[in-house]
Structures are given as structure tokens and as C-alpha cells.
């Protein structure tokens, strides 16, 4: 038997014995960012398709959540920084190869857009709302006249936001578990799915709920497909990728991943949504609540397990 013992004199805080540089802030932000991206995507999509009246919650009501989600997410990101007072350095440069730079600039577009979107729909929430100043009405009219352009910008930037939450991880080749480009589409799909779930939770319109249950079902199917492909990719790759996959296939993250993410977050809600679409009566909030829970767990598990995966040398 070949034995190998590695002894290192290094004991840097948060690096050794295992990397732990990112705590709850990053996965929480990735979840909130993905959820906001999902909601904004559907709002923009149904505006572009001219179906605002058919899906009022998706287009007008659910987007009210997004400035709150994004602000909480941004606060989490700020708390994560070790050099907090220097955060503005993000906005002194554009670095095309850094996903974090992409993310910072995308948030700079998405967050104001989400606020504008809410302002345009403020009367849905407060029917007696008055902007008081004429110039605000002028700005309001300007945005209304260009609603289609705004919708397209929001649709595309929401997609970039959703993909970037996954690319943020996959750009790190030092952490084999994260280093798969499938994380981009996977996080986007999960974000869209949690967005659809939030809309189902808020909607009082049976037609809209059914439509989003169908969409969510499809997204869950795509997610399961991508997860299977992620593992296939890992298992057919190098030793470090096989080791990364084994964190979920018998390793310490096996139970949380297969129980919380796959079973509770994807399998059971898919089954419940399927039964509901077939006409079974059941409490409508269980499936979407589980989807949202699964999305949150998914990001936490990937963030923590990724830091446990590494190269051997």
C-alpha cells in the first residue's frame, strides 16, 4: 500500500485547514439575486408578450418584492467584504474576465430598473398615490412610452443576473466542484423556478397560478436534467472532479443535498404541482414554499461544499 502524509506549516485563518472565506452572505445573496432575477424575467416577458392583464401578479405585483430582495442581497454582499469602505472600487473599472465585476455592473442596471418598475405600478398597491410634482409625472410618462425598451433591457439583464449567480462560482478552477459551466444555466433555472414559485404564492388568480405551476414544473424538470448532467460531467472528468462529486455521492453533503435540494426542493413540489394540475385539491402554498426552500438550500450547499473541494498536490 502506498502511503502519503502531507504536513504543512501553514495555518492561515479562514484558509487552513479548509477554505472558509465565504460564509452565509454569498449564498444568501445568490438566492435573493436569483429570485429577483426570476420575478423580473417573468414581469418583463409577459409585458413584451402583451399579457399584462392575463398575469397581473407576475407583471405588476410580484416585482414589488424585487427592490427589497436586491437591497437585502446587496447588504449581505457588503457585509461579506473585508474592506467595506472600499466597495466603490468596484465601480471604477470594468473587468470583463471577472464575474464579480459583471455582477456589480449588472446589479447597477437591475436594481434601478426594479425600482422604476415598482414606481410605474405604484397605483396597483396604493390606488390613491400621487407623485405631487409635475416633473415626476413627466418622467413617469417617459418610462411608460418606452415600456417595451425597458422590458427588453430588464429581460436581458435579469437573465444575465440569473446566469451570473452561477458563473460567479464556475469561474474558480481552484474549486473543482464549482468549476463546471453547467452552474450558470443551473442557477438561472433555479432562480426562474423560485421566481415562478413566489408568483404562485402571491397570485389570487387561478388561471395565473396554473400557468406558473406549469412553468415551474418544466423548470424543475430542466433543473433535474442539469443536475444529472453535472454529476455525469464530474464523474467522467479528472480525479479532483470525481472527488468533488463524491462530496454528494457518499461524502458529507450527501444527505443535505439529496434530501433538502433534490427531494424536498424539486421532487415533492414537482409531484404536488403535477397533482394540482390534474385537478387534485391541496393547499396551494406547499409546493412553491418548498421550491423556494430548496433554492435557498441549493445555494448554501454549493457554496459550502465548493470550499471543501480542492486540487491535490
Amino acid at each position: 500500500m502506498r502511503e502519503e502524509i502531507i504536513v504543512s506549516g501553514r495555518m492561515n485563518y479562514l484558509i487552513d485547514p479548509q477554505l472558509h472565506i465565504w460564509h452565509w452572505h454569498i449564498p444568501l445573496y445568490l438566492f435573493l439575486g436569483g429570485l429577483a432575477a426570476g420575478i423580473l424575467f417573468f414581469a418583463a416577458l409577459y409585458t413584451i408578450l402583451g399579457k399584462e392583464k392575463e398575469y397581473p401578479t407576475a407583471v405588476k405585483l410580484a416585482p414589488f418584492l424585487t427592490p427589497v430582495l436586491l437591497t437585502v442581497g446587496l447588504l449581505a454582499l457588503l457585509l461579506d467584504l473585508n474592506h467595506k469602505l472600499y466597495f466603490w472600487q468596484l465601480y471604477t473599472t470594468i473587468r470583463l474576465q471577472s464575474p464579480m465585476s459583471w455582477g456589480a455592473w449588472t446589479l447597477m442596471v437591475v436594481t434601478p430598473l426594479s425600482i422604476i418598475w415598482c414606481a410605474l405600478n405604484i397605483k396597483e398597491l396604493f390606488p390613491a398615490w400621487d407623485w405631487k410634482y409635475k416633473w415626476i409625472y413627466d418622467v413617469d410618462a417617459f418610462f411608460r412610452n418606452n415600456l417595451l425598451i425597458i422590458s427588453w433591457v430588464m429581460l436581458i439583464s435579469a437573465l444575465i443576473l440569473g446566469v451570473y449567480t452561477g458563473i460567479l462560482f464556475s469561474a474558480f478552477n481552484a474549486r473543482p466542484l464549482w468549476n463546471t459551466s453547467i452552474l450558470g444555466p443551473l442557477f438561472l433555472t433555479s432562480g426562474l423556478s423560485t421566481g415562478a414559485a413566489a408568483i404562485i404564492l402571491m397570485s389570487k388568480n387561478a388561471h395565473e397560478r396554473h400557468n406558473f405551476a406549469r412553468i415551474d414544473l418544466m423548470l424543475i424538470g430542466i433543473e433535474l436534467f442539469l443536475i444529472v448532467h453535472m454529476f455525469m460531467g464530474f464523474l467522467a472528468s479528472t480525479q479532483v472532479h470525481i472527488d468533488a462529486a463524491s462530496l454528494f455521492l457518499g461524502g458529507p453533503y450527501t444527505t443535505p443535498f439529496w434530501l433538502f435540494v433534490v427531494t424536498l426542493g424539486l421532487g415533492i413540489p414537482a409531484l404536488l404541482e403535477l397533482l394540482e394540475l390534474k385537478g387534485f385539491k391541496m393547499p396551494a402554498y406547499i409546493a412553491p414554499a418548498l421550491v423556494i426552500f430548496g433554492g435557498l438550500m441549493f445555494r448554501f450547499i454549493i457554496a459550502y461544499a465548493g470550499q471543501a473541494s480542492r486540487w491535490l498536490y
Binding site: 504543512s8 485563518y13 479562514l14 467584504l81 466597495f87 471577472s98 486540487w311
Partner: protein
């Protein structure tokens, strides 16, 4: 100009003088280190082999840390040395997560810190990095790979060497003589 370092694993005795010299020269905060010593024992008893390596940032030619940095704080300086500009660093940790060698650490002042090859404080003055200059077995060689007469160029011409995880695609500039 391409600065590089070679460490002779056959001469290194693992005394950690390089670690202490670095901490003193660069005011490394207590509890942290920019360079460290690794001892690898492998084989089957009684046929065991020990390799001792003084490790630090690999100053990769294709640095994941420079690529991932969102502000440009991590950058290539003179001679390809990878440096961090503290007042540009926001402490996001992207470079720490991106380094396959885990060579970076969060400095208590907020920015990220790592080996600089002593570029500004010694090398620009014509001196060797602190770790190289104190090594009691003279197992480290530093210099410019573009200069055929530099100590590192000369030793790499005559000895077998390896780099750490070249398969990570980083093109490291820290060579280990084997």
C-alpha cells in the same frame, strides 16, 4: 523580464527560516504567513521518501486571482510578479477562492495579502527576496528567466524540476528541483 524562483527539494531541510524571514521583512501579521514549509512523506514502509518544499505564491503567468479580481487590485507588476494594491482591494475573497495553491489570506486590515517576491522592498534594490537571502542551505534561487546568467536560469538548465499542479493551467513561476 520574468521573475521566477527555484527551490531545491534535495537541499531544503524544512527549518522554516524562510517563513520567519518573510514575516519579519514584510511585517506579516501574527498568526499568518506568506510562505510555508510542506513535508510530503510517501511510499511504503520501510521504503519511504520525504520531499520538503518551501512554498509561496506561484506568481502564475495565467493567474486565476488576477482574472477573478473585480477591481484590478490583483495585478501583474514588473517581471510578471503578481501583487495586490491594498487601497484598491475590497476584500471580496474572489482571489482567495480562485487560488488553487491557497497562497492568499485575508489581512486583518481588510485587504488580501500574499507573497510579493519582495519586489519593492528588496528586489528593486538589487537584493534577493528575504526568504532566499536567509536560507542556511542556500536551497533557493531567484532571478530573471529572460537573463540566461541569472541563478534561477542557470539552475533550471542543469537540474530536473517540476511545478505544482500544472494541470490547473496556471503556468506557475515557482519551480521545485527534484
Amino acid at each position: 523580464m520574468r521573475y521566477a524562483m527555484a527551490v531545491d527539494t534535495k537541499k531544503c531541510v524544512g527549518c522554516s527560516d524562510c517563513v520567519v524571514a518573510c514575516q519579519t521583512e514584510n511585517n506579516v501579521p501574527i498568526g499568518f504567513c506568506r510562505d510555508w514549509v510542506v513535508e510530503v512523506t510517501d511510499g511504503t514502509y520501510p521504503q519511504l521518501e520525504v520531499e520538503i518544499r518551501s512554498e509561496r505564491c506561484n506568481h502564475c503567468e495565467n493567474s486565476p486571482c488576477v482574472r477573478c479580481c473585480p477591481t484590478g487590485a490583483s495585478h501583474y507588476a514588473e517581471g510578471g510578479v503578481v501583487l495586490v494594491t491594498p487601497h484598491k482591494c475590497i476584500g471580496c475573497g474572489a482571489c482567495i477562492a480562485s487560488c488553487p495553491y491557497d497562497a492568499r489570506y485575508p489581512h486583518p486590515d481588510g485587504h488580501v495579502d500574499k507573497c510579493t517576491f519582495c519586489l519593492h522592498n528588496r528586489v528593486e534594490k538589487g537584493l534577493d527576496p528575504a526568504c532566499v537571502s536567509v536560507c542556511p542551505t542556500k536551497c533557493m534561487y531567484f532571478g530573471d528567466l529572460d537573463d540566461p546568467n541569472s541563478p534561477v536560469s542557470k539552475v533550471l538548465k542543469t537540474r530536473k524540476f517540476k511545478t505544482l499542479i500544472p494541470e490547473a493551467g496556471t503556468n506557475p513561476q515557482l519551480y521545485f528541483l527534484i
